[in-house]
Structures are given as structure tokens and as C-alpha cells.
Symmetry: C2
Subunit: 142 residues, 2 copies
């Protein structure tokens, strides 16, 4: 996998409104979009902090991946997402390099982008998301 760039960083939060407010106030963040991804069990806010992107996620229910993450570790950094041009090619390369694929097939993420996750066990404890942007200059975000 040869990512083009970082796409965003994802943070798990318990109170989405409070976290958005904190980032607006403390870091001049601009909230770009909010959505609920029922399939992933999260309410998401997409923020711009300077030229970079943050995704704040709060669980829709306690018994969801982000809900269990919060119960175990508390709020904090959750995942790192990298832009790739072709996600199926990137998944094949990651697999060949020993990555444990959570999503062997891409699925639909925020903004309808094709995404796939790699298990942290195979990336030194970091949950990695691949996001297909096909090299669009805005990362397909706006």
C-alpha cells in the first residue's frame, strides 16, 4: 500500500456536541458535516482543523465497536485513515504484506466514499482505515 496522504484522524468521544464545541473553541475547528452511520453504530462529525481533517465519533448504542472502545479505554484517538487511489488494489497489497483485513471488501463510509479497515493487531496497535479518493485534490471530503 502506498497511501497518497493522510485522509483523517478519528477520535472516539462520549458526547459529540461537547466535543465539536471543544474543537471549535480550542482549535478553531470548522464542522463540515454530521451524519449517523447506522451500519457502524456511530454519530459522526467531520471537522477541519487548519488544513487537516478530524472525524469525531460517538456511539449510537453502548454495544457497538465505538461504544465498547469507550467502555474499555475511554475517549481518545481511535483510528488513522489514509487516502489510496484504488482501494481494491490497496487491500490486496495490504493482505500480501501481512495486514489482517477487517473488511476484505470495501464498504461505504462517510460521504459515500469506499473505505476498509485493517485490524490494529497487524499494525502495531493502530486501527487503520483506507479511504479511496482516486486522487481528488480535496480527498473527496467536500
Amino acid at each position: 500500500v502506498h497511501p497518497l496522504d493522510l485522509h483523517h484522524i478519528g477520535h472516539a468521544v462520549s458526547d459529540l456536541d461537547a466535543a465539536v464545541d471543544l474543537y471549535e473553541r480550542m482549535f478553531g475547528a470548522v464542522c463540515d458535516d454530521r451524519a449517523t452511520l447506522a451500519e457502524q453504530g456511530v454519530h459522526v462529525a467531520a471537522l477541519l482543523v487548519g488544513a487537516s481533517r478530524l472525524e469525531l465519533m460517538a456511539p449510537t448504542e453502548p454495544d457497538t465497536p465505538v461504544g465498547r472502545f469507550l467502555a474499555k479505554r475511554g475517549p481518545g484517538m481511535h483510528h488513522v485513515a489514509y487516502e489510496v487511489g484504488d482501494i481494491r488494489e490497496a487491500l490486496a497489497e495490504a493482505d500480501a504484506a501481512g495486514a489482517q483485513l477487517i473488511d476484505p471488501e470495501p464498504r461505504s463510509g462517510l460521504h459515500g466514499l469506499q473505505v476498509a479497515f485493517i485490524h490494529p493487531e497487524s499494525v502495531a496497535g493502530v486501527l487503520v482505515e483506507l479511504v479511496e479518493t482516486r486522487g481528488g485534490s480535496d480527498g473527496g471530503w467536500s
Copy 2:
């Protein structure tokens, strides 16, 4: 604080050589620099993954901040660093916005850049580093 951009993401690892090798192999990372920051108790490798920067850190001793982090949480995402133009101004703004400053005065980080950390308790669980780059286009990294 109005960061210009993300500067880097920091990950805590237990074996620095193995982690650098993993990122080179799995993500085509290029290791830019290695250093030991004795004051912070870490061996650091600075990597480029596409256009973005990662800092991999392994503790020099178990009884260091990163050593204690690893003992408690295991390897994984450790901090998010934002570029700011003037770090003393950014620290004053962060303080006014309710940030709990770990470093009320900037100190010297990797590459001799001026850096300061904000306590995760005041940023929804995320350890935030501010890095003064004075707007240089390469983020003062190279």
C-alpha cells in the same frame, strides 16, 4: 489556537526497528530521521507515509511517559501534533480556551523545533502537541 495543519501523528511502539520495518513494508513509509530524545525518554523514528508524517516512539526505559503508556494501554496511537505559527501565542490561546498545559513554556523537540504538549484530560482524551513551524512549507521537518 488556529493550527495551520496537522504536523504529525505519534504512535507508541515497543520495538522501534520492527515498527519501522512494518510501516516500510506495509505502507511504503520512508524513514526520514532517527533520534533519541533523552529528556522525553524516547527513541524516535520520523517517517513519511505518502505526504504525511508519522512519529514512532519507543521508550528508553520502562519508567518514562511512553513506557508507562505502553504498560497501561499497549502499543498504539499516542498523540496528535498540530503546526502553529507562533507557539507562545498558541499556548496563551489554548490556556484561555481551557486547555491544561503540560508545558506552559515551549521546549525543544525533534529537529530542534519548539514544541509543547496539552493534557488529554482537557482535549476529550487526546494528547495534543503544538509544533512551531512559523509557516515553513515543509513543516520544518526536513
